[in-house]
Each structure stands twice: as structure tokens, then as C-alpha cells.
Amino acid sequence: MNDRLARIALPIVGILAVVALWAFMSTRVPDLPSPMKTWQESKLFIMEPLVKRGEMDQGIGLLAYQSLIRVAKGFLLGALIATPLGFLLGLSKAFNRMFDPVIQVLRPISPLAWLPLGLVVFQKSEPAALFTIALCSMWPTVINTMAGVKAIPQEYWNVAKVLRLTGFQTFTKVLLPATLPHMFTGYRLSLGIAWLVIVASEMLTGTPGIGGFLWQEYNSSIYAHILLCILTIGIVGFLLDRMMGFVEVRLRSI
């Protein structure tokens, strides 16, 4: 009983503490809207989440949806490149030696650095945003898939050899199922990064979505909406992670 109470009550206490700190800070910092003011100015966006009033003036649900679609596209593009790359790196020592240094150098590059290059190459903001999301988010998938392939026990390879499985059978019946849990760990981490990158790419390209809206409201000095966006980004990111985590746990239990 006590344990259950604590499990519900303690997170609420934590949230209230942060809100209290926010309220206190807003009395000291002149331009920081208080929680109450944020709610009053954001009420319309939250209560009518799917209403479109203008290009950027949309319900928060609609804005998040546009961002999610963009993230999904960029993430899928990244996964499409990263998964086979991870398999190749895990299977071939020579390939690994060849590309590992390149990957280690490309991995820490910030989305803010890739985006201008994307704009130069593609000339349009949308493909540049996808390019940036894909390029920044693919590394956890590459690295986890590679680690998953390397971690396959020798006995599974022996089974494949002893049963004289074809290359295709070895891939679908042994390699893929053995690597799947690792791949999904990679996908979960990659999706988290893709969601981080979306805000930066929308801010710089000014495309409609949660990040674009955030930047526009900053420029229009409606600071309450910045907080609305920040909270939305956090909650959506949390839900995405939980969703992928759920799939991952299901796969690991096999």
C-alpha cells in the first residue's frame, strides 16, 4: 500500500517542486512567463489541438504531428542506411577497419553543422531537414546493429553451417533474429536523437512544426508559447521512447 502510494505520489511531488521553482524564477526574471500565464496563453492551443488557423498558428497536436511526420521520414531514411551498414560492419573485419575511423569522426557532428550543408546540396529546406535528421540519428543504429552481429555466439553460426543453410536462410533464420533486439535498442536511441534534431532543423529552416512554431513565437515575443513548445517536445519525446522501449522489451524476452 505504502509502496503504491509512493509510486504515484512521489513523481507528483517532483513535478510540483519543479513548477514551484519555475513560478519563483518567473517573479525574478521579468520576461519569463509564470506557469499560470503560460497556461492562459496556451489554453487555446491545447484545448483545440487539431485546429489550423494559419500556417504557424495551429493547435499543438497538429504542430507536433507535422514534426513527427518529418522525424519519421528522416528516421526511416537513416535506419534504411544504418541497418545494412551495421550488418556489414559487424560481418566484415576489413569493412570495419575501413570505415570505423570515418564513422567515429562523423558521429559527434552537431545537426547545426549538417543543416547548412544540406541546404547547399538540396537547395530546399525540407530535404535538408530530412538529410540532417537521417545523418545525425543513424549512428546508434549503426553501432548497435554492428555490436549485435558481433555478439552472435559461435554456436549459432555452427548450426547454420552444420544444417547447410543457404546464405539467405542464414540471414533470415539466424543473423536477423539474433540481431533484432540490438537493432531495436539502436532504433530507440536513434529515434530519440531524431526528435532532438527536429527542433534545430525546423528552427533554422522555418518550416511549420513544433520547432518552427517555437522560433516564430520567440521572434513575436510571445514567450509563454516557448514554454508550451518545450513541454510538448519533452512529453512527445518521452512517449516515443516509451513506445520503442516497449517493443524492445518484447523482443528481448524471446
Partner: protein, 281 residues
Amino acid sequence: MAFVEVRNVSKSFPSAKGTRDVLSGIQFSVEEGEFVSIVGGMGAGKSTFMNILSGLLKSDSGTVSIGGEAVTGIHPRASVVFQNYSLLPWFSALENVRLAVGAAYPTWERKQQIDQATRFLETVGLGGALHKRPSQLSGGMRQRVAIARAFATEPEILLMDEPFSALDALTRATLQQELIDLCSKAGRAVTTIMITNNLDEALLLSDRIVPMTRPPRATLGTPIEVRLPRPRTASLLMHDPSAVRIRAEVVERLAEFVHTKKEKAAVVPIKSARVAEERAS
């Protein structure tokens, strides 16, 4: 020429201190339909030899041939049973066996493959656990699946690497009996090479026992014929005077062979054999 011919096989592996010679100058032959056990203590030699026989590993020198053909990869009519079951954990028992059947008979229809797999799983008493995953099965049941998988491809040659050593004594005895049944049901005698560290298991199952020394430079001794009538049972081996005598003879020859190689491990089996002999007389 015998069905299985091993000539002068040696194998070494690189190690921290240069190279480690695991096998050295192995001579070995098995007639068609024969059941031969290779008995030896712990150490990597036996499994290395098994991997060379099955084609998983290449020897440094010497030749291996099965049915007159040099072994260059996995023999198409060979089945291998591993010590650690080696089932694929993401597949059910049925799928594990069907995968082997499908690989051996790619032209069969799916239904026929499933029927074959089901039949062999039923033979080892797993008709009720067809759709269970390996993680839902006990060690004995897992090894039954592995044995069903080996027999379901109707092999000409069966290679078993300590197939029962991970099992408790009772399960072990049951599975040994099931193996005898499967071998006799196969229609024709399946040539079988089994690696084991258990002498009683070797006596129960084999026509011949071949002793193996430990690495480094492990090698095979002179084969010992097991002149015991079949069918054999564990209790026959314990109580039948001629069986006990043969057991003692085998133990002594093993000990002799191992002692000439300056090994001490054979002391314990000699004692237990003498006790058994005294009890019988």
C-alpha cells in the same frame, strides 16, 4: 577403405605463448554402420577433432574422408549433435527441426517438412511440446529436440560431441536408451561417432571405443572392441559378469594407454572398476 578415414591429422592454434599443438598425428577409421566412441578427459582435443570431422574446422595437415570423398566442408549427409543443444532460441521445437529438414530436402513441400519434423519429435516423446520455445523446455527436452533434428534429416553419418554431458544422470540414461531406439528404427545402421567423457555411456552404445589423450599433442590410441551382445541396458553392464569383465578390460587398457602418456587421471576409474568386479564375483 573404411567409411570414415582419418589420416595423420594435426591441428594447432595460435596462443599467447606461440602455438599450441592440440592434435597430433591422428589415425582413425570407422566402418559403415559402426558406432564408435572417442573417450577422453577434459580439454579441447575432442571437440577440435569433432569439428574437423564435421568440416567446421580445417586441419593443418592430414586428410579426412567420409564415404570415399575428402571432407572439405559439411558433409551433405551428416548430422551433428552438440553438447550445448545449439537450438535457435527464437524458433519453436518444431521450427528448429523443420529448418534442418527444409535445408536437407529443399524440394519438399512445407507440409511434408512439417510432417517429417513432427514425426521425429514424437519419436523422442515431444509430441506435446511441438510449439514450445527452447527456453520453455528442460535440458533433457532440449537435447531431445537436438537429437530429433539430427535424425530428421535421415543422415548417413551422425557426429555427436558429448551429447549427454550437460544432463543429469537419470535424464542421461533415458536419452541414451532413446538414442539406441532411434538408431535401430532408422532402418539401416547409421554410422555414428560419439565423443564422450563417460565410459559407461561408451560401453552401452558403442561397437568400439577409442581412447584419446589430452592436449597438447592429443592423439588416439588403439581401438578397443566392445564384445557385448545387443540390446544392452545399463543394468546389464552393472551385473552381467562378462560385461563387468569387459568393462574392467576396457578401463585397464584405457588406463594403460593414458599412463604411458604420463597421465594420472585414470586412477579413479580403475578403482571403481575393481570394486565392480569384486562385487560381481
